[in-house]
């Protein structure tokens, strides 16, 4: 491209320089040969400039109107030059003068340049949006332009105008006249190529009408102007060329003017088609705008303005209980709210189809904004469920037509899908965020649990913890109080996820510090409850069983604050121990203290204590049946001869088999303490 461009300008420059040099050597071409060379050089330079300039016209081809404006301006420049030159050259009588030659050459080149450009523009317009290739006609026309120009140089009549000798085409020459006539008919034939007009919108068409009048006027003036004598003397052919191009402009724009005028009444239809086309682009843009609902709302209302030719547009989105207004355009937020509340409240809009509402005919319109006359409402529906409404309104007396309502309705359907997509995406992002949060919660929970089971003489301890996908808030721990006493705690924080994990952390802190202070089990829970009053959210509670084993006294003392029963197996008998006590956080008065009852168990050989959370007994099978206490007790009883760890494993196995295909919905926690005097070997004490 650059290479051919360079070549084109080289050619143009070469011919121009040649012409200039020729003019300096032969200021007046008065022999036939010299005149011929002169004219051929002129035509050649005009042609090469035309070829070169055409490239500059190309990129602008999508904006025909700006081309027309450029042509008009250059026409005006030519007009100015012509008017000025006759005055400018009136002092330079001698056409062989070097200064005269210099001046006239410069002016002539400006003419050639401007002409080339104007002509290139005409050519572009002519070829614009043409289905058939018009170049043959055009080429023939160009040839006849050249022929007529040459003919004008040779079949000429010398005349004297205002005391100056000028050459004019001989109007009696048959050859010249024939050539001229053919050229004019070719110009006419080519002037009907005006397909580009159809694609202008109404506003552009009106502008084009004005421009046409201006160009017709200027071209006409230029064409009629006989005063630019020096050009005629410089080159009769150039003069003729100028005349022809002006004539071409004149004829072409007369045709353009009338065709535009005839197209004007249908301009709005074209406009609408164009809008529909561009709104398709907007729709596809909208469908991909799923990352930001605000941005999507903006696109929806601005496109609605376009498709329905409305003055105002806004969205009403249904949330769970109320509606919100979004992206209000062309009207105040308060006005939009008034209108949509009014229309929705009186059920004037329909949730199944688009409706045209004539505000002027609505009863009770007195409080509504006065400047809105007509409204289209279209429901935003997905799978027959209404997600909101799209409104378009006009501030003119022109009522919305069925067609407007149809396009708003179609557009609303697409908008509803786009909105739904955005919502789904936002939900899945939220889901991902929650999953990350759960990862953190699970991590916290693991770190809070004891890393290893403590070892005590006469005591066989096992613990089992299986977290649910959503962290359930289960917690267990062991604390050494002194060399004969150790505390065990099992707790369940209500609620799930990160919140439960944080409360669990606090509970651990409270128990680990209180257990060092040698409180009784009851005193300790009362303290814990009052500490939690400061931080526990109203709807969160913590159930706890807290017990202390005294290995020396061989007894187990415990309290239960709302927690699951403690199972106690002794002497081949299993019992469910439920001493009175309400959950931590349910009440912060003495009521809590008064209701809490301590219980003491004397430990005998092979006694088993089982602490667990409701995740075990509430485990569901595929028939929605709970695992329950009975199954658990039976299992423990059957396995009572096994070690704590083996019992724990058998419970886990039974639960897994029971729940088979169901996912675990709560944490499962189990602590088994088995008292065994027999493992007390002599000498170890």
């Amino acid at each position: 491209m650059d290479k051919t461009n360079n070549k084109k300008i080289e050619n143009a420059f070469f011919v121009s320089v040649l012409l200039f040099v020729f003019k300096i050597i032969f200021p007046s071409a008065n022999t036939f040969i010299l005149l011929l060379i002169n004219e051929i050089l002129i035509l050649a330079s005009a042609y090469f400039w035309f070829i070169y300039v055409s490239d500059f016209v190309n990129p602008k081809v999508s904006k025909p109107l700006s081309l027309v404006i450029n042509a008009g301006l250059l026409n005006a420049l030519l007009f100015f030059l012509m008017s000025a030159s006759s005055w400018l050259f009136s002092g330079l009588k001698n056409s062989t003068d070097l200064i005269y030659v210099l001046f006239s050459s410069i002016i002539a080149f400006v003419f050639i340049g401007a002409l080339s450009y104007v002509f290139a523009v005409y050519k572009k317009l002519c070829f614009y949006r043409q289905k058939k290739n018009p170049s043959l006609y055009y080429k023939i026309m160009l040839i006849f332009f050249a022929l007529t120009a040459l003919a004008s140089a040779f079949f000429k009549a010398d005349k004297t105008v205002e005391g100056l000798k000028v050459v004019l085409p001989d109007s009696n020459s048959l050859i010249y006249n024939i050539l001229f006539a053919i050229t004019v008919s070719l110009i006419l034939a080519n002037s009907f190529r005006v397909a580009w007009i159809a694609f202008l919108n109404k506003k552009q068409k009106i502008n084009l009408l004005m421009l046409s009048i201006a160009i017709i006027f200027i071209s006409g003036m230029n064409s009629a102007n006989d005063n630019f004598i020096f050009i005629k003397n410089f080159s009769p052919a150039l003069n003729q060329l100028l005349d022809l191009v002006m004539l071409y402009g004149l004829l072409y724009f007369i045709i353009v003017f009338f065709i535009t005028l005839f197209h004007l009444p249908t301009a709005e239809v074209i406009d609408r088609k164009n809008e529909e086309l561009s709104s398709f682009k907007d729709i596809s843009k909208m469908m991909s705008q799923v990352f930001d609902s605000e941005e999507l709302y903006e696109t929806i209302t601005s496109t609605t303005l376009k498709v329905s030719n409305a003055n105002a547009s806004w969205l009403v989105i249904n949330n769970n209980d109320d509606t919100t207004i979004h992206s209000v355009k062309g009207i105040g937020l308060i006005e939009a709210k008034q209108l949509s509340d009014f229309l929705l409240g009186r059920k004037i809009v329909s949730s199944s189809e688009a409706k045209i509402i004539d505000i002027t005919e609505v009863k009770g319109k007195e409080d509504l904004p006065k400047d809105i006359y007509t409204i289209v409402s279209a429901p935003l529906s997905i799978h027959n469920s209404n997600k909101g409404y799209l409104f378009a309104a006009r501030k003119t007396y022109y009522r919305f037509e069925e067609e407007d309502s149809k396009s708003v309705s179609t557009f609303a359907d697409f908008a509803a899908i786009a909105l739904e997509n955005t919502k789904l995406l936002e939900e899945s992002i939220e889901k991902e965020r929650l999953e990350k949060e759960l990862d953190v919660a699970r991590d916290v929970q693991y770190k809070l649990l004891p890393q290893k089971i403590p070892e005590y003489k006469n005591l066989d301890i096992a613990a089992l913890f299986v977290p649910a996908f959503e962290v359930g808030g289960d917690y267990y721990d062991f604390f050494e109080i002194d060399k004969n006493k150790f505390a065990v705690v099992i707790a369940d924080v209500s609620g799930k996820g990160i919140e439960a994990a944080f409360i669990m952390a606090e509970v651990k802190g409270i128990f680990s510090s209180l257990s060092k202070l040698n409180f009784s089990t009851k005193e300790l829970l009362i303290k814990a409850n009052s500490i939690l009053e400061r931080s526990l959210p109203k709807k969160i509670f913590v159930t706890v069983t807290f017990g202390i084993i005294d290995t020396k006294e061989e007894k187990f003392t415990f309290v239960r604050a709302g927690h699951s029963p403690l199972l106690y197996l002794s002497d081949n008998n299993i019992s469910r121990l439920v001493p009175q006590g309400i959950g931590l956080g349910l009440n912060f008065t003495e009521k809590f203290d008064n209701l809490l009852k301590e219980m003491e168990i004397k430990l005998n050989n092979n006694d088993i204590i089982i602490l667990f959370t409701d995740g075990i007994n509430e485990t569901l099978n595929e028939y929605f049946e709970e695992f329950g206490y009975d199954r658990l007790e039976k299992l423990i009883f059957e396995n009572r001869h096994l070690s704590a760890d083996q019992i724990s494993k058998s419970i886990m196995k039974a639960i897994t088999t029971f729940s088979k295909n169901r996912s675990q919905h709560d944490d499962i926690t189990l602590v088994i303490l088995k008292w065994n005097n027999n493992i007390n070997k002599p000498g170890v004490n």
Partner: protein, 117 residues
Amino acid sequence: MADFNVTKREVGDVSILDVNGFLDAHTAPDLENAFNNLIENKNYKVVINFSGLKYISSAGLGVFMAYVETMRDNGGDIKFSNLKDDVYNVFDLLGFPMLYEFYKSEDEAIAKYNRAK
């Protein structure tokens, strides 16, 4: 998990909430909304009818704790009625019956409100 729904009825100045299905961490917000509505309308005398409730989790229990204070501070209460045995056991284990009033039937709960007037 299976669904949950809550509907509101009024008997005199007592509001009855019928809770149905599974009340857990996921469905608890529905019940919270119902309570918020009651407070907005200044309905502080509430009876929760549990006849349709199949399951309640700790998060579900927490909802009552969150609202009972407001109700009691405004001369009302949250009373429970028509609990199935297994649902009642959950409340019982936690100690709710020591802090809240439970009734076999909704009428008894309403009668209690009316007697207090």
